[in-house]
Symmetry: C2
Subunit: 244 residues, 2 copies
């Protein structure tokens, strides 16, 4: 429950809101927040994503991590369209690294992280918290503008202006993005050290009706490559493994 | 449909998303956006507010202004508690100006404008728009941190970092807050010049079951004072007027 790199005495018992999608990155982030001694509050979003299995994964993980409270907030971003994650646009499959890096992918959901952070900030302020954790990553998701360090810093600035606690100076907001500069393999190694059960996590953008991962979308490919590079076996169940 | 202070030739036909609560300020803001020649997209939020009559007012106003599309987005901020607008905390009544200015009022909803702007930004990006209008006011609502000019500027900075259009440089986000430095009387005068029917707007934080305004909450008092100072009669229906 302590970390050698942080002063846990000052953190222990402080509340943190953690954005928990139910995927590998957010689960690792939750484990990191726990290891630092924060009292955990997890928030997930039912935003019209096609890969809704991640919400059940989030519920299981929240329970497994013993979070103080877990909210699943409904917010239908699919009414906007424009993303393969929430509309009829097909999720790309079998892309190589170069293709993934070429441009902002169609799986980009406009304003998603800004919306999620804003809502998390509202809940945090109600709880008397000013620490928010999220598992964004600028290495594997270099194409998503709202996964970049400059976005996170800008949101911190905004939070200090937008809130009562920030405006009155009673708290200074800190948006923690502990994975932002890590490779997927480094994330997995850190999570395993902290006891994350990755069998409980859901990563795939395009699972089948049973929730089994496709193994071919960008998210699956990055996950599989991460486990391979970490020298570990991915405990998730893939469709291909089921059909053979 | 044009304005002498803006170049309507470059704006005409451009899309703008307008935050429309159904109140006096947002209705005036909608009228201003229309007068500048924007194609109008209005968004309202069902966020668990006790004064839900404003949502019907928003629908009527959107229709009256001929907006291209009007979305009412459900997002239950009341789960957080902490505000008199969404929880069992009583709405303050009969406060004088000095009392209103003393501190951030209990009607402050944590992160509200940040959440609303974030969702509006997502919709705007899906529409190919990069202009958002909102009716915040730093004069009458000096206690709300997210009604200040520095908050608006900070959100603009964030928008340019958070979005695909901003990151790729295809658009520069502009958050328009045309009322921010105006008094309520100036807002009302401008709205009347632009043809706003204020009988259609809903302002009260604590209406009765018929939607009649209480006449005593901060919002009602500021509205009534604004009409008086503008030398106009408020066409809204107040409870007191009904009971006499």
């Amino acid at each position: 429950m302590t970390s050698s790199t942080h002063n846990s005495e000052t953190i222990s018992g402080r509340k943190a809101v953690v954005l928990l999608s139910g995927g590998l990155d957010s689960s690792t982030t939750l484990a990191i927040a726990r290891s630092l001694g924060y009292e955990l509050y997890a928030i997930s979003f039912d935003y019209g994503q096609k890969h809704r299995f991640e919400l059940q994964a989030a519920r299981n993980l929240a329970q497994g991590f013993g979070v103080k409270s877990h909210i699943v907030m409904s917010l239908d971003l699919s009414v906007f369209g424009g993303s393969a994650l929430t509309s009829d646009i097909a999720v790309p499959k079998g892309r190589n690294e170069e293709q993934m890096e070429q441009s902002i992918p169609v799986t980009y959901v406009p304003a998603r992280n800004t919306v999620f952070l804003s809502v998390a900030m509202g809940w945090a302020e109600s709880l008397g918290a000013s620490d928010i954790f999220l598992g964004v990553n600028a290495v594997d998701y270099s194409g998503y503008p709202d996964c970049r360090p400059e976005f996170i810093r800008s949101f911190e600035t905004l939070a200090n202006l937008a809130t009562k606690t920030g405006a009155e100076g009673t708290a200074k907001w800190k948006i923690h993005a502990p994975l932002i500069e890590l490779t997927k393999a480094e994330i997995i190694r850190q999570g395993m050290e902290l006891g994350v059960d990755y069998a409980m996590t859901h990563t795939c953008y395009d699972p089948d009706s049973k929730g089994y991962a496709c193994g071919k979308c960008d998210a699956c490919l990055l996950r599989l490559q991460g486990f391979e590079q970490a020298g570990e076996k991915d405990p998730a169940v893939y469709q291909a493994a089921q059909s053979t």
